[in-house]
């Protein structure tokens, strides 16, 4: 008798490693097919199912690579990274990182995969009602220097080395991706505005201000950062302009005067 623990360990090992046939000792030949063929159904289904999971989570990456290219990359990832997630929704968390080395010569692929993952994560992130610009009306001018802001939990920065936002937009629209050559490092912002996931490339100024806003810096400190770029006279208006944009975009869930 084989104990249940040993049976499951051997059965699983046989699915994960195609050259491990010790599981065949556990099972009977069928009346029409030998044990190896019947066990092969599980081996085939294992990889096929996880490829489908990755297709669902990396839809635009799949478009970029095509069926054959995506299948090859996905199976390489699956072979290297068995799932440890109870819910298949979270399988693929390291796929973008994997693609950086698996497709070294094509950094756009890993960039698009990172965007896919960020967008999927934003899609089902926790619900948080966002503020509108009108919420700022309650604050007196004297409050403003001490205002701090809480971002929507879906907000993510994706650092890329290609024109990933533009490539992603083109592929999503069914158009050719355009140039996929490396560019200077840039940041794509991903967030969810009510139930719509949005993304856009950030310029350096906004990226710096937003990063500081997220970690709880006061409005006055954001103005100091802006002053280095536009001068102290225009800094307040510059930050206020971005703040209005962030509020209009559903990116902020609370404002308070410290």
């Amino acid at each position: 008798m084989t104990g249940l623990s040993e049976l499951q360990a051997r059965f699983q090992a046989g699915i994960l490693a195609v050259d491990d046939d010790t599981a065949l000792d556990l099972i009977n030949d069928g009346s029409r097919e030998p044990a190896a063929t019947l066990f092969g159904i599980y081996r085939y289904a294992y990889a096929a199912r996880l490829v489908e999971v990755l297709q669902a989570n990396f839809d635009v990456t799949w478009t970029l690579l095509g069926d054959e290219g995506f299948d090859e990359a996905a199976r390489a990832y699956i072979a290297e990274t068995p799932s440890r997630f109870q819910n298949a929704r979270w399988y693929g968390d390291r796929f973008a990182e994997f693609l950086k080395t698996y497709m070294t010569g094509m950094p756009a692929v890993a960039d698009i995969a990172a965007l896919d993952w960020a967008i999927a994560s934003a899609f089902d992130s926790a619900d948080q009602p966002a503020l509108t610009p009108e919420a700022m009306a309650v604050f007196q001018p004297s409050d403003w220097p001490d205002l701090v802001f809480l971002p929507h939990n879906s907000l993510q920065f994706v650092t890329v080395s290609t024109a990933a936002a533009e490539i992603y937009e083109a592929l999503s629209a069914g158009e050719p991706p355009g140039s996929m050559l490396p560019t200077e490092i840039n940041t794509v912002l991903v967030w969810r505005d009510q139930h719509t996931v949005r993304y856009r490339r950030l310029d350096t100024d906004e990226s710096s201000l937003l990063a500081n806003m997220i970690v709880g810096c006061k409005f006055s400190y954001l103005c100091e950062i802006a002053a280095d770029v536009v001068g102290s006279e225009c800094a307040g208006m510059k930050v206020a302009g971005f703040l209005r944009l962030w509020l209009q975009s559903g990116m902020i869930i609370s404002v308070s005067a410290t």
């Binding site: 249940l4 049976l7 556990l26 009977n28």
Partner: protein, 301 residues
């Protein structure tokens, strides 16, 4: 499972311990469909003639967003049952507490008529193969699975339903039939059964047993739901793909199941190659006709 809710009769001042009747099944919900994203808009806009929907629990065990918002809307109009694929009730790994917490949180939100998962294991040693892997039909497995079902039921505070899975292999050490295995677990765990008619057809063909024997071999008072689905016949074996219409042989088995179990909540479960909603509604009408025909025959006799 034994539930002992204390019912307080204020005027009389008596704490009454009520033990639920272990054989009182949830009421028959009628004819339902598996809720799929492809049909969200049409369901919300047209409110089709479906008595209830079954959701894949894991699809909604997420922090938030549109899927949960849509589910809330559909829940307002239809009864819901929850059907999981990742409980891994047969695994020798410890039960995943985080998973159970998320399942319970979803149940608190959805208030399903019942919760089900599969009689299988999905992985071991911390891994998950995301497949419904077969168990050996042994006394050890009966004891192991029944104990875990009881743990889950205690955690959720309700009985769960366990579904028979399709399988492609038989284990050398199995010492009983599949229906004996299913029945022994259901009795030992005091749980409900979700009877997948297609799965017994698939496994019956693959393992050369008479699916009718399976139907007669499980305790009828524990079956709360039936699944109907399609499959892929490869000549020497059948693969349970759930991606095609229900075949005639499965409809015949459904009629036999209706005769044996009586009126039971029944649904079409399509997991892949999702067709227009109307095609599934047409299949559901066929299920209705068969169930009605069986009922009429029973009354006449």
């Amino acid at each position: 499972m034994h539930l002992y809710p204390a019912v307080f009769f204020g005027a009389v001042g008596i704490d009454l311990i009520v033990m639920l009747d272990t054989l009182t099944r949830p009421s028959n919900l009628g004819f339902g469909l598996g809720l799929r994203t492809q049909h969200y808009s049409e369901v919300l806009e047209t409110k089709p003639t479906v008595d209830w929907f079954e959701i894949i629990s894991e699809n909604y065990m997420i922090p938030g967003g549109q899927p949960l918002a849509i589910l809330d809307q559909i829940r307002a109009d239809y009864p819901i049952v929850m059907h999981g694929v990742s409980l891994s009730i047969g695994s020798v790994d410890p039960l995943d507490r985080d998973y159970l917490q998320a399942l319970k949180a979803l149940a608190d939100r959805v208030e399903p008529r019942w919760i089900s998962d599969h009689l299988c294991w999905t992985g071991v040693n911390g891994l998950n193969l995301h497949d419904l892997l077969p168990l050996p039909y042994t006394e050890e497995a009966v004891g192991h699975v029944a104990a875990r079902i009881r743990q889950v039921q205690d955690f959720l505070g309700r009985r769960i339903a366990i579904e028979n899975v399709s399988s492609y292999v038989t284990y050398a050490e199995s010492a009983m039939t599949e229906w004996e295995f299913v029945s022994a677990i259901a009795d030992a765990a005091d749980c409900w059964l979700l009877f997948d008619v297609n799965n017994i057809f698939v496994s019956g063909f693959n393992h050369d047993y008479d699916a009718q024997t399976f139907i007669k071999g499980v305790p009828r008072n524990r079956v709360v739901q039936m699944h109907l689905a399609g499959h892929s016949h490869n000549g020497t074996h059948i693969v349970d793909t759930h991606d095609a219409p229900v075949v005639d042989e499965v409809w015949d088995l459904y009629a036999a199941a209706c005769r044996h179990f009586g009126p039971i909540s029944t649904m079409i479960e399509r997991d892949d190659n999702i067709p227009p909603l109307q095609e599934l509604l047409d299949e559901l009408d066929q299920a209705r006709r068969i169930a009605a025909s069986v009922a009429a025959t029973e009354i006449a006799s």
